[in-house]
Amino acid sequence: MIHYALIFAFGCFGLGLLFNLYRIFVAPGVVDRVLALDTMVINIIALLVLYGISTHSGVYFEAALLFAMTGFVSTVAYCKFILRGDIIE
């Protein structure tokens, strides 16, 4: 049962990624693309954890944690750039 739930979840987040790709391609401005990138990171974290479950391996959690950290930092940096030009002032 978990197996099928996993496949379903994989499918959902994979599909989610595809939608993110669409938003990367078609967007009114760079802010939407930053938003898409941020969503992508979240989807990917989910996928990584799913992958960890499906391979019974905990090796990927550090990656997920780091993705969360770097995703946050880079989103803030992009926005800060749009807001102020200088991201460290």
Binding site: A9, V31, L65
Partner: protein, 138 residues
């Protein structure tokens, strides 16, 4: 017990998948940036949260290792997602929004994002005439 756990985990995974997907659907379906901004919070909270809890349960029950990493990730996401959303909203307001479209702050001051804007902005360096003599090493 294991069967119950299996059901719980599966439900969590399916729900997570659905909510995660809803977030991404929202990203393409909703009409403007501000409404689209609501999407990732969904993916974060129930989407990733569900997966992470499912994972914890799975490793705890089926692999007999209680993994707390998931909790850490969840906490981190819960901590950072509002900041991210706040920043994206501010960036959007700054770049595309007008203060006049927003409701009044009901205080003496305006919205922070719009407060400093009036002062500036000219193109880079076009006004700067290069100095007459370039210094050399000699």
């Amino acid at each position: 017990m294991e069967f119950l756990a299996e059901i719980v985990i599966s439900v969590l995974l399916v729900a997570a998948g659905i909510f995660g997907l809803v977030g991404s659907i929202g990203l393409i379906k909703l009409p403007d940036t501000m409404t689209r901004l609501h999407a990732p919070t969904k993916a974060t909270t129930l989407g990733v949260g569900g997966v992470l809890i499912a994972s914890m349960l799975y490793f705890w029950i089926f692999k007999a290792t209680l993994s707390w990493h998931e909790l850490l990730i969840t906490m981190f996401l819960l901590l950072t997602a509002p900041i991210t959303a706040n920043f994206i909203a501010k960036a959007h307001l700054h770049r595309f929004g007008k203060e006049s479209d927003l409701p009044d702050t009901k205080t003496d001051r305006g919205w922070a994002t719009f407060e400093d804007e009036a002062k500036e902005m000219q193109p880079v360096m076009t006004r700067v005439t290069p100095p007459a003599q370039a210094p050399s090493d000699h």
